[in-house]
Assembly symmetry: D2
Homo-oligomer: 356 residues x 4
Amino acid sequence: MAGNIFGNAFRLTTFGESHGPALGGVIDGCPAGITLDMEAIQEELNRRKPGQSAIVTQRKEPDEVHFYSGVFEGKTTGTPIGFAIYNTNQKSKDYSHIKDSYRPSHADYVYEKKYGVRDYRGGGRSSARETASRVVAGAVAKQMLSGITITAYVSAVGDLRLEEHYSNLDFSLIESNPVRCPHPKTAAAMEDYIKSVRKDGDTVGGVVSCVVQNVPVGLGEPVFDKLHAALGGAMLSINAVKGFEYGSGFAGAAMRGSAHNDLYNEDGSTKTNYSGGIQGGITNGMDIYFNVAFKPVATIMQSQETLNNLGEMVDMQGKGRHDPCVVPRAVPIVEAMTALVLADFTLLQRTNSHTL
Amino acid sequence: MAGNIFGNAFRLTTFGESHGPALGGVIDGCPAGITLDMEAIQEELNRRKPGQSAIVTQRKEPDEVHFYSGVFEGKTTGTPIGFAIYNTNQKSKDYSHIKDSYRPSHADYVYEKKYGVRDYRGGGRSSARETASRVVAGAVAKQMLSGITITAYVSAVGDLRLEEHYSNLDFSLIESNPVRCPHPKTAAAMEDYIKSVRKDGDTVGGVVSCVVQNVPVGLGEPVFDKLHAALGGAMLSINAVKGFEYGSGFAGAAMRGSAHNDLYNEDGSTKTNYSGGIQGGITNGMDIYFNVAFKPVATIMQSQETLNNLGEMVDMQGKGRHDPCVVPRAVPIVEAMTALVLADFTLLQRTNSHTL
Amino acid sequence: MAGNIFGNAFRLTTFGESHGPALGGVIDGCPAGITLDMEAIQEELNRRKPGQSAIVTQRKEPDEVHFYSGVFEGKTTGTPIGFAIYNTNQKSKDYSHIKDSYRPSHADYVYEKKYGVRDYRGGGRSSARETASRVVAGAVAKQMLSGITITAYVSAVGDLRLEEHYSNLDFSLIESNPVRCPHPKTAAAMEDYIKSVRKDGDTVGGVVSCVVQNVPVGLGEPVFDKLHAALGGAMLSINAVKGFEYGSGFAGAAMRGSAHNDLYNEDGSTKTNYSGGIQGGITNGMDIYFNVAFKPVATIMQSQETLNNLGEMVDMQGKGRHDPCVVPRAVPIVEAMTALVLADFTLLQRTNSHTL
Amino acid sequence: MAGNIFGNAFRLTTFGESHGPALGGVIDGCPAGITLDMEAIQEELNRRKPGQSAIVTQRKEPDEVHFYSGVFEGKTTGTPIGFAIYNTNQKSKDYSHIKDSYRPSHADYVYEKKYGVRDYRGGGRSSARETASRVVAGAVAKQMLSGITITAYVSAVGDLRLEEHYSNLDFSLIESNPVRCPHPKTAAAMEDYIKSVRKDGDTVGGVVSCVVQNVPVGLGEPVFDKLHAALGGAMLSINAVKGFEYGSGFAGAAMRGSAHNDLYNEDGSTKTNYSGGIQGGITNGMDIYFNVAFKPVATIMQSQETLNNLGEMVDMQGKGRHDPCVVPRAVPIVEAMTALVLADFTLLQRTNSHTL
C-alpha cells in the first residue's frame, strides 16, 4: 500500500534511493517463454542515463543493469525477474546543504513531515533516478508486446511547440538529436533554448507526446480501470509531470459532438481519431496518442530563500549536476510506463473471455 | 481485475447497467464510528440526477439510494456498506435502433469485440449512469473527511472559459445556477450557449475545476501512487474525460523554474502554489486544485452514418434523452471521485508511521 | 483492505449483516458469454439454507437470490454481477440479551474492541449468514468451471468418523440424508448423534471433506499463492473452521519420503496421490482432496457465565434458533469456496504463458 | 498475480532461483522510524541456513544478506527495503540428471507443463531456498512488532510427538539442540531418528508448532481475511506444508460446545483458550497457537523409477545435498511468515477506526 508496486497482472516493484548502494526492481507476472534481448534493455537504459549529451545533467552514471532471476538460457521462465542498478558515482557531499533545509518545490519538506526521517542525499527516494528501474521493466514489457509500437518524443520545450500532427513526422529522426524531437528545425531551436536557459542558471518545462500503434482491439477495463485512466495515472506518477491528455484532450472540451465524433469505416476503423484509439476505456484498434506535461526542474543554479528544519528562512544556492530540462531524458520513461500499462492490460484481457 | 473496484484501503466496488434492475455498490474499509447523514448522501445524488434543470437530460429518474448494511443506529460499523439504486424509468425501446449498430464515439463496438456479448440498452455498463454509485460512495467519503473541503465547479463550456483564479470566486454561487459555474455572468452565457447547442441537435464539451482545501500534510505515496497520479486516474475513469492537469498543469510546461518554484514561508506554507498542493506526490498542506476536460457527448440529435454488426454502413438518427453538455452534472461526480481518493489516502497514511 | 473482497481475477465482494435489510455481493471478473442456470444457483442456496431438515436450525429463511446486473439474455456480459438476498425472518428481539453481554467463543467481544460499535443482532457481520453470498458466487463459479467436479461431504461428526477412502464412496448418496454423508450407515449414526447432542442443549463439531476431479494441469502460482495455500485460506475464512489439511495432511508428517513419494505413470499421472493433486503449489491433474475441521457451534442451549460490557460476570442462557452441528450446512459452503478459488486460478493461469 | 507478492500493507515481493546469481526481495510498506538491528536479521538467516548441524543438508551457503535501500543512518525511512542474498555455492552439475526427468513429488513436471520452460537447477524457483528471502523480511517484521513474541519449535518428527502443552515447555531450550525441540529428551530421540532415517537414504516429515504471545486485541479482518485464514495461507505457502490447524484444531472437531467454549474472566481474558487467541477472525488478546504439518522431503538417496520428458520411465538416483527432515530449518521460516502476517494486520488495523 506504500505505492512502490505498479500494475496488476504484469507487476513491477521498485526499490532504491539516489545515493544508496543500488536501485532496482522485481517484475512479477511476465509470461514464460519470451526470448529477452538483454542489449536492447541496456540500450533503453542508456537513452535515459545522465551525461549522454550536452543539454542534460553531466553526472556520469554507467547505469548498468544486472539481472538476478527469472531468465534461463535467454528466456523468461514465468518467475519473477529481479534486477539491480548499482549507484557508482554518487557525490553525497554535494547534498550536505540540504540536510537541514528544504529545497523549494522539491519533496524534502513533505518527506520529513510524512515519515519523520529523510534520506536527503540526492533527494533519496524522491529522486527521478528511481525511474531507471521503470525503464528496465518497460524494456522487458516492450519485448513482450511484440507487434505493438510505442514511440514518444519531445513536442514542446518552454514556449517552443511542435504543432505538426504526428502522422506528418518521421519518427526515425527522434534519436538524431539530443532533444529527441523528430522535427530537426524545431529540435535545433529547442536545443538552443535549453542551452540559453542553462546559461541563466535556470530550468524550463516541456511536453512529451507518445503514439502507440498496431494496438489490438479490446484492451482496457471499462469502469475504473479504463485504459486511458491507467495511462494517465502511470504518466502522472513520473517525476515532474503536471498534466495528461489523450486524443482530443483539453482541446476536445471546446468542440461540438458533431465535429468530435469519429465516424466508422466498414472495417471498424474510424475516419477521424479524436477518441485517441480508446472508446469507453477500451482500445478500438486506432492509434493511441497522448501528451504529458512536465514542469521545469526545481533545482536551479540560482540563490533562493528557503526554509530550514528550525523554521528559519535561509539562503540556498543550487548545487549538484542537474538537468536544465527533463523532457529529453523523459522520453524513454514515458515509453516505459506506456509499455508497462499495455503489458498489464494485455494479460488482463486474457481473463475476460469465456471462449478464450 | 476487471476494474470495477476502486481504491485500496477505502474501497468501492460498483455494479449495474443502465437498464438492468438496479445499480449500486459496496464500500469496504469505511472506518467504524462515523455518524452518517443519510439526507446529505441523497442530496449529492440529487445533484447528479437527470431532469434537474432545463439544460440537462429530461429523463426522470428518482435515483433514490437504499442502504443494506454497514450502518447500525446511524453509525458506520466498520463492515461493508452495501447499497442499491433501482432503475425505474428505463425506456429500453428507445435503444432498439442500436441493438445491431454501433453509435459513433460510443463504446458499443469495443464492448462487442471485447466481450462477444453486449447489453445495448442505454449503453449498458458503459453508461454514465454507473457514476451514480460513485456519488453515493463519495458522499460517504466526504463525511469521513470532516474538515477537508472539496469544491468542484464548471470552468469552461465549449470556448467559454472562466479565467478567474479560484480564490477570486464565491463558491456559494455554484449551486445558484444550472451550469454550476460560480461566476453568474459567465454562467448565464454558458447556459445560453448550451441551449443553443441543444437547439442545433448538437452537444459540447467543457471543463470542471476542483479545489480541495484544509488538506493535512503527508497524504500521497511517493512513487507510483503519488496523490496526483491517483487523482488523475480517478478523474480519467469518469465517462467522457479526456484530460487532467493539476497545479500549473500544461501551462507549467512553458514556465521556467525560477518562476515556477514555490518559495516557503516560515510556517511551511508557500508564497505561490504552482505545485497545486502536492510535492513529490505528497500533500504539503496548500490547496489542491486541478482541471478535468470533458469531451462533447457522443449522442447527437442528428443523423450520422455508422457501422452495423454485419459490416454495413447505415444511417443512424440520435434518439433518447441525453445531455447536450455533461459538465453541470459532472460536478458532483468529480467531487465524489476526489473524496474517494482522499479517503483512501487518509487511511493509507495511517500505515506509514512507526510512532502513530 | 477490510477483508470483504475475495480473489484476484474472479473477485467476490460481500456485504450484509444477519439482521439488516439484505446481504449480497458483487462478482467482478466473471468472463463474458457464460449461460447461467439461475435455478441451479438457487438450488445451491437451498442446500445451505436453514430449516431444511430436522438436524439443522429451524429458522425459516427463504434465502432467495435477486440478480441486479451482469447478465443479459441469460448470459454473463463480463460486467459485475450484483446480487442480494433479503433478510425476511429476523427476530431481533431474540438477541436483546446479548446487546450488552459477550457470548463465550463468539466474536461479540472482539468486534466491540476492534470497532467501538457493534450490530449485536444475530451476530451482525460475524454471523455465518454471510456465507449465503459466498454460495451464490460459488454457484456462478461452478458454472464457469464446466468439466471440473467439486464434491464435498461430511466425513466426521464428533468422534464418528467415516474412514473410507473417497474412491470407495458413492457421491450420489450425499444428498440422500440430512447429514450429507455418502455412507448411509455412518450417516444414520451421525444423525442420531446430532439429535442426542441437541437434546442435551449442546453442540458438536465435525469435518467436511472435499474432492475436486477433472482438474487441468497447471493451476496455482508457485510461491505465496500456491493453490493449496489459497484453498486453505479460503476454508479457514469460513466461520467455525479450525483446521485444513490436503493430500496426506497431518498424517503425511509421520511418513517417510520413500513411502510418501508419488511415482509417475507414463502419462504423467501418479500411482499414488499423497500430493493431493498439487505439487509445488500447482495442480498435476490428479484429484485434489482436503479436509476441513469445524469446531462445535458456540451457542448452546445451556446457561453459561459470561462477561458484560460493564466488566461484570453475568449468567447467559442460550436463545435463538441455532444449529447443533454446522457441518451438514457447511458442505455447500466448502464447495462454493473451492469453486471461487478454482475460478480465480483458472483465469490467473491464462496470464502465465507467452504462447497462449 | 503471479503470486510472488505477499501481504497488503506490509508487502514482501521475492525473486530468485536456487542456482541463479542471487535471490532477494523488496519490503514495501515498512513504517518509517524503526531502528533496525542488522545483526539480528542475519542471525535469523543463520538459523535457516544449510550446514548448521549434522542433521541438516551439508551444503555450505554463507547466506549473507545485503541491503540496498530503505534504511538511512540505521533507521527505516518508509521507502522500500530492497535486499539480496548471493548464491555462491551452487553445484549445478549435481542437477544435470533432472534436466530431462521429473523427480517424483517435486514440482518439475508441473513447472514444465505450466510454463513450457523450466530452470531445473536445484529446483529453480520451486526450491525452498526461496524462503531465505522470507526469513529476512520476517526478521524486519519482528523488529517492527516489538512487544509481540513469536516462538516456533519442532513438536513432531515422524511418529515422535511432543505431547506437552506449550505452557509447560521452556522455550529457552529450543536453540539448545539441532532439532529445535524445547524438550531435551524428545529432542534427543528425534535427532537419533533423523540420523537413522538419513542412514537409510530416506527422509521423514514432522510438525512445527508456533505460539504468539502479547498480542493486542483487534487484529484480523472479519470475513475473508480472518487472521487465522491469513496465517493458514501463509503457512501453507511454505514448501512441503500439508496442513494447518490453530487453537483446538482438528481435535476441536470432535468436541462439544459446552466443553469447547472459552469462558471469560472479568478482564476479558478467557479461562481456557480453545479459540487459539482468535475469535471470529480477530485476536482477543490470548495466545495464538497453531501447528504446521510438513511432509517428508521428496528427494531421497534411493533409486526411484520416474518419468522423463519423452514420456519414458527411467531410473533416477537421488543426488545433491538435501535435508533428511526439514522441520528443524523450517522453524525460523514459520516464525518469519507469522511475523509478516502480524505486521501486515497491525498496519491494517490502523485503518479501521474513525477515532484513531
